[in-house]
Amino acid sequence: MPMTMTQKILAAHAGRESVTPGDLIQAACDLVLGNDITAPPAVAVFRQIGTARVFDRTKIALVMDHFTPNKDIKSAEQCKTVRDFAREQQIVHFYEGGGAGVEHVILPEKGLVGAGDLVIGADSHTCTYGALGAFSTGVGSTDMAAGMASGRCWFKVPEALRFELEGKLPPDVGGKDVILSIIGRIGVEGASYKSMEFGGPGLASLTMDDRLTMANMAIEAGAKNGIFEVDDITREYLRSTGAKSRLEFRPDKDAVYAETFRIDLSAMKSVVALPSSPANVHPAEAVGQIPVDQVVIGSCTNGRINDFRIAARILKGRKAAPGLRLIILPGSQLVYAQALEEGLLAIFLEAGAVIGPPTCGPCLGGHMGVLAKGESAVATTNRNFVGRMGHPESFVYLAGPAVAAATAVLGRIAGPSALPGR
């Protein structure tokens, strides 16, 4: 029977010839992920399960990235819990301090995820790795604990939405604009319980960083996973990271989709999601005069080298508007080093930015850029819910790095075309 990409990966990991949407399956995990917020409860649940050892100490990744560098005593203790567990279980992929970075930036970088893999992570943005042709999905701490103990997880096989990409993106428009536009169109539960499968001729014009951004936000449409067809760009990326898995699963030509959407990339514009929903999407040029107190460029959504190249191209020779706080957070040490080498950090410093360590901090109102009552921020992050970045009466506007950089210069929300000289 014909299957989508997600069905094929799930069937392969459940040891079955085929699976049908709605089937409840137990599948083997190639990687189980947790962070400093979700792993501590998972460690406690792991103890309750009573298994002495993890199923495979090479297939668990523990990344200390949310409240790190530790913002307070309790956060430090949470990291210590995970560190002690990692030592006890001799977990190979435990990352903190200078070895860490934002989980969904570093796992692909380190080649820990490859095409055809099945990954669960106690973090909703685990869906990021779909960009590599993997099935990956967010779960909670209990599933993570059961995954660490058994190497398996239960899934309901999802239906799929097919996104057939055509054309080529205009200049200054990126993956963030595409995925926000799609969420704006289908809504925050437009893909509920479903897989979002991306393919088509337009794929060739999307960089791996664009794809990681898009897969990352599949959860914002309620999806179980986002997944991209594997092409030469994927193969080259996986070769460069030394990823072990390179199993390519292609959707069958006659695979059945709940719905198919044709997305013309050439018609995409710079967009912004206004508070307090990622589906409240409007063209950046059409939002009127919205003053902004802070701009954050970074996160698991847009903390990769291309994101900073785009921001630097716009910020070069320009300054952040007076009174606006510009915060730059490279997503990993590798991205940090690359940005340094390419002179991007000098451009940001010159523009008046604060450059921080790789951390999820401000995205979830943790630290390193929390908002006061009444303040507004443009962030290249993924959620603009009430209170997401701080006070419940603060406001988050989501955008890609080009809009964020232009906004930083002008002090109000704008696309790059609003800048003089562009």
Partner: protein
Amino acid sequence: MKLQGSVHKYGDNVDTDVIIPARYLNTFDAAELARHCLEDLDPSFAGNVKPGDVILAGKNFGCGSSREHAPLAIKASGVCCVVAQSFARIFFRNALNIGLPVLECPGAVSLAESGDRLEIDIEAGTIVNPATGASVQAAPYTGFILELIQAGGLVARLRRNAEQRRK
């Protein structure tokens, strides 16, 4: 499993950031989380909620983050069941995994207002407002999901299965 309690009613897209804001995620102590449950949506909830109460909500309840702290906070606040028009998938599985009964029922929202009582039969999927006599039917759980609910969560189920294997 038959439950009944007083309703706290909310709208669509109640996200996990308002259920338990990230500023409280430096702990997973359930009682501490319960003190801040729904703080950014309804600051009076934590003070008003009584053991056995029911949350009744609209579409996409629990959207956003995978933090299991969200269903934990709700469970520790004493809520016996969340009934919603629809659930975001990670919240749904987290709730079942930790033994917080949830029921998805498109028609339930019009059944009651805050303060009304609801009677819920989880296995049968029936939800009744005894004051008005009105009732709605959710699709009942079957198979693995039903086992999960009856066991009281994934860990309890794993342990029960392990015990049965030993016998």
